[in-house]
């Protein structure tokens, strides 16, 4: 039992995400391959949309990985290589969308809501008046002393 548990823990410890990149796609130059690999992790596969092309086994993702490596081998900068795909499939393929006029709400919307909520809470808390202490009326005083001096309610 203990051995099995240890074994399971060891397997979990060494489990790393496996990319779908096949050996035949990889570039011979490790520096270029590293760049291509990093870029492909941030590019969305348009077939299985919540995977990057680096993770996806879709045939089109493979084509796009190869195209990306071709562009990089041809001397494209990272920006140009990504731009090549964005020109065809749109900004949607960027898993980290660029900050633009139409993505402002996406980038800063949650922050704006947090600030608005915080501001509202601050105004509310600061505007609260402490409860004013007023003396009891003579009748109330009499009632209180009667209640405190007897065990019976009413």
């Amino acid at each position: 039992m203990r051995r099995a548990l240890l074994m399971a823990l060891a397997m979990m410890a060494f489990a790393t995400p496996v990319a779908a990149v096949n050996p035949d796609e990889q570039l011979a130059d490790p520096a270029l391959e590293a760049r291509a690999h990093a870029l492909s992790q941030d590019l969305r596969c348009v077939v299985c949309q919540n995977q990057s092309i680096d993770d996806s086994d879709a045939a089109l993702a493979r084509d796009l990985r190869i195209i990306l490596r071709e562009r990089i081998s041809a001397g494209d900068t990272d920006q140009q290589a990504v731009g090549f795909l964005v020109a065809r499939y749109g900004s949607f393929v960027q898993l980290e969308p660029p900050v633009r006029l139409d993505t402002l709400a996406l980038w800063f919307g949650p922050l704006a809501i947090l600030l608005a909520g915080g501001l509202g809470a601050a105004i509310y808390i600061r505007g609260r008046k402490p409860a004013t202490v007023t003396a009891l009326s003579a009748d109330d005083e009499a009632e209180v002393s009667r209640l405190l001096n007897t065990d019976k309610a009413n």
Partner: protein, 177 residues
């Protein structure tokens, strides 16, 4: 007035929920095309039919036409195929590109089921499709008289899609100079 202000967060929540509710009806696989209004990227594709000259961008323009991406491995292409045959009979300029497929298989497909295309080319590597932003087959593009992309339809062309979207657009494009 101050009481109403307390309702503001609730109002915002309701607005967001309404937005999300309508968002549910959107199909996330329908991505906007980057090609609308742009010229079809140049391609020159080898033939699918043996003894044919294939399909190239020089075949485009003059009159509005359709480019249909298909493949022998594509299930939804079977659904739209009978309609494509009817369009061809009606004289619609319909060209085909056999995408990410062996040309022999693409040819087998059109010779067994019927060949709806005027020109048909083989895009075995898929590059011509990728240049057009094709993500899956079938996809159908409406091309205007200048050879520019005007509309992209993702998925099978149904009678409804043809009658309500593609046909009216092609009629409109025909009247453009």
């Amino acid at each position: 007035m101050r009481r109403l202000l307390f309702l503001a967060p609730v109002a915002v929540l309701v607005l967001v929920l309404v937005g999300f509710f309508f968002g549910l009806k959107r199909d996330p696989s329908l991505l906007p095309s980057m090609m609308i209004g742009k010229a079809v990227p140049a391609f020159s594709l080898p033939p699918v039919r043996p003894e044919d000259r294939g399909f190239a961008t020089t075949d485009l323009g003059g009159e509005p036409m359709l480019i249909n991406y298909y493949a022998s491995w594509c299930a939804a292409c079977r659904i739209e195929h009978p309609l494509l045959m009817q369009l061809r009979e009606q004289g619609v300029m319909l060209h085909g590109i056999d995408w990410k497929d062996k040309p022999e298989l693409g040819y087998k497909w059109i010779s067994e089921r019927g060949d709806p295309y005027v020109r048909v080319g083989s895009d075995e590597s898929g590059r011509a499709g990728i240049d057009m932003g094709v993500s899956a087959v079938p996809e159908t593009f409406v091309i205007d008289r200048q050879g520019r992309v005007r509309y992209r339809h993702v998925g099978a062309v149904t009678r409804e899609v043809w009658e309500t979207t593609l046909q009216p657009l092609m009629v409109k494009l025909r009247s453009e100079s």
